[in-house]
């Protein structure tokens, strides 16, 4: 009786994790199918869809745009987010809780609502000063910075919380200048949080769809948006190859992040 219950429990739990991972496995498998029309089991396996995906302009340019946007947005977001997290943990000032809440706000507002807000805001600026922001890379980067700030603040603040300011005070008392204290003491202490913040920020920006959707234009689109447009017509091995590249990229970034922080503490 107890044995059967244990088997049933484990089987059920295993099934839950399997169902979550199943679509990822399916899409990786499909990317190697020899034939273009989906049929199970496949006739054979090939790598050629990866070359084919890269030769399709919308995927290549979408990938490069996403890469550029995510790199720049993460650099900006990590810089200002780290500074903010440091101030929130170490300094005392009025309204700290409210400011912390504000900085985490972009995570609380649904992407669709925030995306529409940014769209009308950008169009308003376009009209007011005759300077195009909608459907430009700077516009997309500005929007994505919003995604990177809360993740950085959260991760860096969490990594600072457990550290005592005594080391910094000691360095200052021993005559180190503020910049030296920051560079030689504070920054190394925050390293794990900053690295994790940078990687998560990059992933959030690279994978974002909702916030991005209205802000794209011809040639100024991101990979998830190009994939969505393609998928509204069909799913085939070429698209699966594009998806697989993303899965591998994110998997690698996650494994790197895992070396720096305890990942289960990051999301919950």
């Amino acid at each position: 009786m107890g044995v059967w219950r244990a088997i049933l429990w484990r089987g059920g739990v295993g099934a839950v994790f399997a169902v979550v991972l199943l679509p990822l496995v399916a899409v990786v498998w499909l990317s190697f199918f020899n034939q273009e029309i989906i049929a199970f089991p496949p006739e054979g396996y090939t790598w050629r869809w990866y070359a084919n995906a890269w030769s399709q302009r919308q995927f290549a340019s979408g990938f490069l745009n996403s890469l550029e946007i995510a790199l720049i947005a993460a650099s900006i977001g990590v810089t200002v987010g780290t500074a903010a997290a440091y101030a929130l943990v170490r300094a005392r000032f009025p309204g700290k809780t409210a400011i912390a809440g504000l900085l985490l706000g972009p995570l609380a507002i649904p992407g669709v609502v925030l995306g529409t807000g940014l769209y009308v805001f950008f169009v308003q600026i376009d009209n007011a000063i005759d300077f195009q922001i909608v459907a430009t890379l700077p516009g997309l980067i500005a929007a994505h910075v919003l995604l990177t700030i809360p993740w950085t603040v959260r991760l860096v603040a969490a990594s600072l919380q457990g550290l005592h300011p005594a080391a910094e005070e000691a360095a200052a008392n021993l005559g180190a200048r503020p910049w030296t204290v920051f560079r030689r003491v504070t920054l190394p202490m925050m390293r794990a949080g900053v690295v994790a913040g940078a990687l998560f920020s990059f992933i959030q920006s690279f994978e974002n769809l909702e916030l991005t959707l209205l802000l794209t234009g011809p040639g100024r689109s991101t990979l998830p948006v190009e994939m969505l447009n393609y998928l509204e017509f069909r799913v085939d091995p070429t698209l699966a190859a594009v998806a697989t590249v993303q899965i591998v990229l994110i998997g690698a970034l996650m494994l790197i992040t895992d070396r720096f922080v305890n990942i289960s503490r990051v999301v919950a």
């Binding site: 000032f93 805001f121 494994l255």
Partner: protein
């Protein structure tokens, strides 16, 4: 703190400013503007006429089409939240009670799909559920269903897609709370003769309630605002609120109405989340 320390506190506090300015500019200003737009009047010729009217809100909440879309969205969100809770609890309990290497790997396996975008996962479900997909191939090979079964473009496909998108959030939120429940409490109850189900109902569940509340609220919000999954797995006939909001901006360019729909979605999500939270917490402290 001495004088110099207090003086040094001010420049440190100033470090928060760049981030605050960016969020005010890129989040607060757009949301204020969007709300202002929702009070304007739509005009097919001039796009928008400045006004201060609740007309868009009124026509949205009286329009049978949008009422039906909202009802579909709420039904789907409630269903997916309940499934995610039921499936996520055992998974979270297992994860929380694991130790060492396996726990680290299982945690990674939970966080990883969450980081991979919804579009990629929807592509996976399209591969599995299509008429020539893996599931139909398996059904055909089993001999029970010689003709393809329509799995794609059904509410079931959307529910499956959304549940798998939100499950990792539920599992991680629940697991972080369950980890804090001392194992000894369960063992004590078992030793005193309680059956496993009773231990779960009387010991684990009440102590895990904060996790249930937080996880359900988070997941419900995500479900209410699902975009890619309903579009790709539900097909053109199945409409949820988030795609309906975007259509107002892309297809019909009725911005005031679209803005009103966005705020209605936000308000309904918030109201239902708070109501659900109150309901769960009342269960905990019966009057």
């Amino acid at each position: 703190m001495n004088e110099s320390g207090r003086a040094a506190g001010r420049p440190v506090a100033a470090l928060v400013l760049p981030a605050v300015v960016l969020v005010l500019l890129m989040m607060v200003a757009p949301m204020v503007l969007l709300f202002r737009y929702s009070l304007n009047i739509f005009s097919p010729t001039e796009l928008m006429i400045q006004a201060l009217t609740a007309r868009n809100y009124l026509s949205a909440v009286t329009d049978p089409y949008y009422l039906a879309v909202m009802a579909t969205t709420i039904r789907m969100a409630v269903l997916c939240t309940l499934i995610a809770l039921a499936a996520g609890f055992p998974a979270a309990y297992t994860l929380a009670r694991m130790r060492g290497r396996w726990k680290a790997w299982l945690t990674l396996a939970t966080v990883f799909p969450l980081m991979v975008g919804n579009v990629v996962r929807a592509a996976g479900w399209m591969t599995l559920l299509g008429n020539a997909g893996l599931l139909n191939a398996a059904l055909k090979a089993s001999g029970l269903f010689p003709d393809p079964v329509q799995l794609m473009y059904t509410p079931m496909a959307v529910a499956l897609g959304i549940v798998t998108v939100v499950l990792p959030y539920m599992i991680l939120t629940l697991a972080s709370v369950i980890e804090g429940i001392p194992r000894g409490l369960e063992e004590a109850a078992l030793n005193l003769g309680a059956r496993p189900l009773t231990v779960f109902r009387r010991v684990v569940l009440p102590l895990a309630l904060p996790g249930v509340v937080a996880g359900s609220a988070l997941v419900f919000i995500l479900c209410m605002n699902a975009y890619a999954t309903p579009i790709l797995l539900g097909g053109p006939q199945f409409t949820m609120m988030a795609p309906a909001v975007y259509d107002q901006f892309v297809k019909t360019t009725n911005w005031p109405f679209g803005a009103a729909l966005a705020f209605i979605l936000l308000a309904v999500t918030l109201a239902l989340t708070l109501a659900g939270r109150a309901l769960l917490q009342r269960r905990r402290h019966p009057a």
